[in-house]
């Protein structure tokens, strides 16, 4: 089993860290992983994206043209990656960041109002963890157990007190993600 994922949004939305946590979770479950960021000026405000591959077998190319899952958090990302989802694949978008929703009928489309939920939780920083929760609900590439372990492993100890809040955000994400038909 191999899942090829693209995560894309504005710089600062936590796209790269979401990918990193996903990759670490894969590591915790003894899977093969690669994390390939766009490392240009995107980090400073433009559209940032990261490719994460989680696999039971050896991973060949870290660079892909088609994805099993696309997580798009703004309109330019949706426009760029909707055509690149494999037929039968999954597209997840944030309702707040996208004006023109996806139109393809040969893929599964999910909407997650993570921006609204983060505002409700009064913590914009957990936005990406809500999205990650949504992903794990509709495509369980890793378990929440693995994710929890990954947070302890990848975050510096001074931030460990924030992990329960982040796991709560993951739970919320799992609840609010909705399939669009």
């Amino acid at each position: 089993m191999k899942t090829e994922i693209i995560i894309s949004g504005f710089g600062g939305q936590g796209v790269l860290s979401m990918g990193k946590i996903l990759a670490y979770s894969g590591l915790m479950e003894d899977k093969e992983v690669t994390w390939m960021p766009a490392y240009g000026p995107e980090q400073r405000g433009g559209t940032a994206n990261v490719t994460v591959i989680v696999s039971d077998e050896r991973i060949s190319s870290p660079i892909l043209s088609k994805y099993d899952v696309a997580i798009v958090l703004n309109q330019p990302s949706l426009d760029k990656f909707e055509p690149k989802v494999k037929p039968g694949g999954i597209l997840i978008y944030d309702g707040y960041g996208v004006m023109n929703p996806p139109t393809r009928k040969d893929i599964k489309v999910y909407r997650i109002d993570a921006m609204d939920k983060a505002a409700e939780m009064k913590n914009s920083k957990v936005f990406n963890m809500i999205v990650l929760g949504g992903l794990l609900k509709v495509c369980p590439v890793v378990s929440t157990d693995g994710l929890n372990k990954a947070l302890y492993k990848s975050l510096p100890e001074r931030h460990h007190n924030m992990i329960p809040l982040n796991m709560k955000a993951v739970d919320e994400g799992m609840k609010i993600i909705q399939e669009q038909k």
Partner: protein
């Protein structure tokens, strides 16, 4: 023995960790995208407090390579890292090191050029790396990692080869391998060599004049042409020895293949996927990956290409390694090229399309 610890890190970070663990004595460098994580990681790990390794940010690449010259001249395991335009600045020092037969290691995490070019990945330094790079008749040993694991493994290998042959060795990576994170098992910890060991293993090193021998002089300058020719001939003999003994490569799915993709470094990873995709479409393709770019695995390519219909050289440049492939197969079968330029990294599908367009139609 304890289970080997698997960690997740960037190729750049792996270089820094591996260098400390394999007993490097010093790093001199100057930051440049896409490899600045190397010096950042070294600064974070503070090896001067543990192994005693020196980490110094020089005022420029030119200064850094000359610090490497000095440190390595004393028999120390010294390295520097940079990206394409920075490596271009270092070429004078590398040529001097080759001429004085000083064994340093340098890492090039390539970005697109010419000039300042772009910060995005490229493989357009193949010529710069494999043709010496600076002035004079010389070569540097060039290793091309295709994974974070090989970034970690090749640091010690580069030092070992550099000291074995008293010659600079280079790790030719690129922005893809430098920036991506993968699982890696870091190499075992080796202590730094003691002064006694250096004295024994590097009798040529300038470590202060012991009473029992004449002074060692390390220089690339020799004004008597007769002597200079002899020195050059000695270096050529050494290069021949390296060609005979140090070729490294990997051939995958070549046996039953009709076509062979030849790629190195990150392009070989993309090529591996192209092979999978092509085989799904019923096209029998194999992958040949030179691991040493100099010495180039010419004989091995000829062997792998026997009876095949064609070779597609896929590189992230306008066609550089293809020259070595063509020289190797010497017209025995068609050799075509595919590449993307300017910081664009080719997608696996593009390679399959190129293969079809050029050979199958």
């Amino acid at each position: 023995m304890a289970e080997k610890q698997v960690t997740l890190m960037k190729g750049n970070e792996a270089i820094a960790h591996a260098a400390i663990r394999c007993g490097a004595d010093a790093f001199f460098g100057y930051p440049i995208t896409p490899q600045s994580e190397i010096i950042e990681t070294l600064a974070l790990l503070k090896p001067w407090e543990t192994t005693g390794m020196v980490v110094l940010q020089a005022e420029s690449e030119v200064a850094a390579i000359n610090m490497v010259y000095g440190g390595a001249g004393a028999g120390k395991r010294v390295f520097t890292t940079s990206s394409s335009p920075g490596v271009a600045l270092m070429q004078e020092g590398i040529s001097y090191m080759a001429g004085a037969e000083i064994p340093g290691v340098f890492v090039d995490v390539q970005r697109g050029g010419p000039g300042l070019g772009t910060i995005q990945p490229s493989q357009s330094d193949y010529f710069q790396a494999t043709r010496g790079g600076g002035n004079g008749d010389y070569y540097v040993i060039v290793l091309a990692p295709n994974s974070v694991q090989e970034m970690a493994d090749f640091v010690d290998l580069a030092f070992t080869l550099a000291f074995k042959y008293r010659n600079p060795a280079m790790i030719l990576s690129d922005g893809v391998i430098g920036q991506m994170m993968e699982k890696v098992v870091l190499p075992p910890i080796k202590p730094r060599r003691t002064e006694e060991q250096i004295k024994k293993e590097c009798p040529w090193a300038t470590i202060g004049r012991p009473a029992d021998r004449e002074p060692n002089i390390l220089t690339s300058l020799e004004l008597k042409p007769e002597v200079m020719e002899q020195r050059n001939l000695h270096m050529q003999e050494k290069y021949e020895l390296i060609r005979e003994n140090e070729v490294r490569y990997e051939a995958t799915k070549c046996d039953d293949a009709d076509y062979i993709i030849v790629s190195f470094g990150s392009a070989a990873r993309i090529g591996e996927k192209a092979v999978e995709l092509a085989r799904e479409q019923g096209i029998k393709v194999g992958l040949f990956r030179p691991i040493t770019l100099w010495p180039f695995p010419s004989k091995q390519i000829v062997e792998a290409a026997k009876g095949k219909k064609g070779i597609l050289v896929s590189e992230i440049n306008a066609g550089q390694m293809i020259e070595d492939v063509k020289l190797a197969v010497n017209g025995q079968l068609p050799v075509e090229h595919f590449g993307r330029l300017g910081g664009i990294v080719p997608e696996p599908e593009e390679i399959v399309e190129a293969l079809k367009e050029k050979f199958i139609k």
